[in-house]
Symmetry: C3
């Protein structure tokens, strides 16, 4: 039932092997252990230090939590579709494994070079996972409508643009965005939304019957949701400064998420005509509190402030799913499979705004010597806190600009008819790219029928 | 098919929003960062200390393990019911997100006040999750028979009473209970059992066909079981003193659980007429070793002692499921959906007794200077070890008293006919409170029939 | 439908209780807290040290990741079979809980004795989990064809032989194998393969229809795969030296796995006639990069070297599944249910070879003072690096020898007709040892028919 165009037998091996060989060559040429991972350098360092000062012990537990979010969290969150579980987890796995390697190089190129070499350790691993997260958000927008080859091509370009944007924000503009409300969520969401807009399929309703969940697929998706929710405090705090910064960021995120969960349940019941909770809201909107605390989480936002942010994020997100997504699809032709605009787009913008405001009102009275960790340029007197707020706001605008423009270009690249995209009739369907177990034979027959019908239609037209 | 009484459209949003707004106001008025999360305070502290001394690095990995137990462990353990997976994970999620916020305030009020303010950090987050665990245990007793509004009301009162009981035990009586055999498990179980007794439904057998598992729901439940089992060492050690105490508690719990698993499998096969293992036992009784090591785990129980405790806990728990639960249901009218009496009730009491005995025989010879961490009042000479044992025993009695009385009162509150409890015919059923996916239409039709039949019966009677 | 031979009512309780009682007695006689878990000893130590130097904080997060791999990773990886999920997770749980206790004793006996006592702490817990992992690999080879009693007997002997082999390698031969390419993977795989060879069932095709997956069972298996993949960096680094060693090992493994994932997807599509990805490859071969980095991961392999190793491991593993496994089954009569030869066997050997080569080319220029951590005998001048390479190669040969011989003997022990092995017609089937939920009644009927048919055949023959 697979026709030639979507047959991956040569396309997928070719791109995987070419990409991996390039990665290996570039790693061989450019990448070195940093002073915490290199045997000689660390042991020189040890003369005046102790092993417990190795960054590994400050960040590795957070790294592993982030890793779980990337591979289990994103992967299983997208298994909600009834016939797309293999692809959701499996393509998530593939593109994440590629993206984290490529991100190591791109991010290293922009801000990890030492004497012509990229130095890597646990912090670069976290940053690579973060960048990967952004790609997976975009994957959510195009879920079910793209081939693995398209996804790898998208990842290749998106990682590169992510690194450019991140460099402009954090290095050139001096913005703060530890949990990535802007760099990860806003960027990934709007990039993906533009890509899916360019890839618009007017006849996608031919696969409509598969673009929905079944009972157990919703439970699998909840595994993803809950892991994302639990480990978001680790995500936002993973690369903040040691000590109070990591501690505070984790705690702020924890309370933001808790408050968001209550507003999500409230809005889900309130907007349903019969008061029944909608799994789509619970699976997604309850996470918006983590997104919205991504920038300000490391600041002295207070648990009180975090809860307000989370509370609002949940409300915005459910309203987006209920009222905005249908409009985006009908009027703007944006087919956003997972609703990333509601989970990552709007809450990301909210997070950026909260970050700008929180930065603008920072005072030495509140931060004490900790100002140097959170706002080094304010602490050094280089800029006023209010100007730090302006920087943050500009960063949001830059992120949106790069995401929209980048998504446009990459979208058109992905439209080239060489990447094996599925036909409109076989979207949201594993069996086009996967061997599915035998009990699905009946189902395969149906598909064959669909394909044949489509072919017949083509012949007739 | 939802009749007005169980329609959550206004009830659920109302309670969620009111509770969250109250929480936000109280957090704004009362809650502050502690010295490990506050930028200014920690950086003052840093003048004589180092970042790796921040409590975050001692406890955050344990916190995240506990967090997984609360949200994945408890949530998925309860998905064993064939048609209640959304509610098991989803209501678990909702009431936990509420309870942890409310617990921060209640526990802070009783033992975290500094100059009129509640100071919070990773330790308070763990304690809040612990208190939440107790509520989720009670949820297990009433699973399938309560509306989300009832559950939130229950959580509101139970968290409050938990904090009172915890204060009496740990502060007033000077008992030790790091892993909560008494404060969490015994309290949560007996509170929940009394609540379910008060909410007794004589006609629950009308939903009997849904009060059982299917093949895949049992596998989902095993996700919960295994996570609880694996992370229980982190649970029991999460708030013990730094150093040997955390280390020893984790190790004792590890061996207690391993021994418990073997006795559970033994008893499950032995008590089945055909020698076949029963998933209910494996999913639950294998965890009793963690419960039973909750008090004595931090003491010098030795791995040998821990294994004996775990071994006994597994036996008691399986026997409870097999022989005691049916009696409780028939004679005492206690409809304990998850069998929390067998997993948390009896093993909790066992743990309390083991703790009392282990405390009573503590000697300086064994504990050395470590006595000050485990039994500060014994180390200071304020009390004899034997009296510490008495304190522990009294604590068990107090816990049972408050749980039983509290459950009684709260049970009657929950009986008020305003919270949207499901009718007897639609218990253990997601579709009363959730949109369930389309493939369940046939099933919904059946339900509609059931409801209509019931309505017809009402009219006829 | 269970006939007397496979009835576990007495056999399973008997062996569980006898084993656990022996364990408890031996723990009571031989096991003591080490200086990091003992209250008195640690507090004596504290006079010149600090709590953050307790090994707990260096290793416990890694331990918990390893623990997840053992219980969730291995357990769920094996749930791919359509009717064997209870047994996969449940027997995995049982034999792991036993093996970790027995391993504590066996490993302690060989290299943890202090004045006649075995001293235990977090490092011994990790090592016990490691040894357990080896048993679970062997379990994968015999999956579906063995009773729980057989599995416990196998674990009893295999743990013992594992400890002997480990002692010879690490203590007698002075080899390095932190992540266990040899001690865990090669040993476990070839031991299991010989066992399954001895237990060869010529009529296993009578259960062929159950020796395959269904849609949701493959998704459950992916939970196992992803957890193994994510936490493998923790596995390989869990017992390496503090500081750069743990840090570097984790990072090397991370890149090895990422590269392996790309080559796995490439080879899976390439070797399929229609270019469709095969879940078996994704679930297994993508992990081979972790196995292959098990020995050299702690060395200065570089990320570049790690990626080459992972890339090759993925290729070898998929080719093994595709072309070698059928040959092993047909020609050598090795019925390897999970394909452990492809995931653990060949990649383990690859890892051993990579380790030998990497050791042989180690120089002080590269390792600096870190040489003492990685190759203490080279650092002390006792041996040349090239000879360390020879030691590593000899270790591989020793491991293969002990695994093959041990598997042979244990295989014949397991063949004794007293352990309740399932008949050929009811392999890969939960209902022979488990109560399965009611919706499976139809299925049970089929089984009954099968059994009756078989009995009829016996009568006729």
């Amino acid at each position: 039932m697979t026709d030639a165009a979507t047959n991956m037998r040569l396309k997928l091996p070719l791109i995987c092997i070419i990409l991996e060989v390039i990665l290996i060559i570039l790693f061989g040429a450019l990448v070195q252990y940093d002073h915490g991972t290199d045997a000689r350098k660390w042991h020189e360092h040890l003369k005046n230090h102790s092993d417990y000062e190795n960054d590994f012990y400050f960040r590795y537990p957070s790294f592993q939590d982030v890793h779980v979010m990337i591979f289990i969290g994103f992967g299983f969150l997208m298994t909600f579709l009834q016939r797309y579980g293999f692809s959701s987890v499996g393509f998530n796995f593939l593109i994440a494994a590629f993206a984290l390697q490529w991100a190591t190089l791109m991010q290293g190129f922009f801000h990890g070079m030492h004497g012509g070499k990229i130095h890597i350790g646990v912090e670069s691993m976290i940053n690579a996972d973060f960048c990967t997260g952004s790609v997976l958000i975009s994957f959510g927008a195009v879920l079910g409508k793209t081939s693995p080859v398209q996804l790898l091509v998208m990842a290749l370009f998106e990682v590169t643009l992510f690194a450019v944007n991140e460099f402009i924000l954090l290095s050139a503009l001096g913005a703060k965005d530890a949990g990535g409300s802007m760099t990860i969520h806003t960027f990934g969401a709007y990039f993906g939304l533009v890509v899916t807009r360019v890839l618009y399929r007017p006849n996608l309703d031919k696969s409509k019957h598969r673009n929905s969940s079944v009972y157990h697929s919703d439970l699998f998706a909840m595994i993803g949701t809950i892991y994302l929710w639990m480990f978001w405090p680790s995500f936002n705090s993973a690369v903040t400064a040691h000590g109070d910064d990591q501690h505070r960021t984790a705690m702020n995120t924890y309370y933001s998420l808790a408050a968001c969960t209550l507003s999500t349940y409230a809005m889900s019941a309130l907007t349903a005509h019969d008061g029944k909770l909608d799994m789509v809201h619970i699976q997604n909107a309850a996470l918006a509190g983590g997104v919205a605390a991504g920038t300000a989480g490391e600041m002295m936002l207070t648990p009180f402030g975090s809860m307000i942010v989370g509370f609002l994020a949940g409300i915005i997100s459910v309203l987006g799913f209920k009222y905005l997504s249908p409009i985006l699809e009908e009027k703007l032709k944006i087919q956003d499979t997972c609703g990333v605009h509601n989970l990552h787009g709007m809450p990301g913008i909210l997070g950026a705004i909260v970050g700008a405001v929180t930065a603008a009102i920072a005072t030495t009275d509140v931060y004490g010597d900790g100002m140097a960790d959170v706002f080094p340029d304010v602490a050094s007197g280089e800029v006023e806190a209010s100007f730090q707020g302006v920087r943050q706001a500009i960063s949001l605008a830059v992120t949106l600009g790069i995401a929209l423009l980048g998504g446009l270009i990459v979208g058109f690249i992905l439209k080239l008819p060489i990447f094996g995209a599925p036909p409109d009739t076989i979207c949201f369907e594993d069996s086009i790219y996967w061997e599915v177990p035998g009990d699905e034979e009946a189902h395969e027959d149906q598909l064959t029928t669909v394909v044949r019908t489509e072919e017949a239609e083509k012949l007739n037209s």
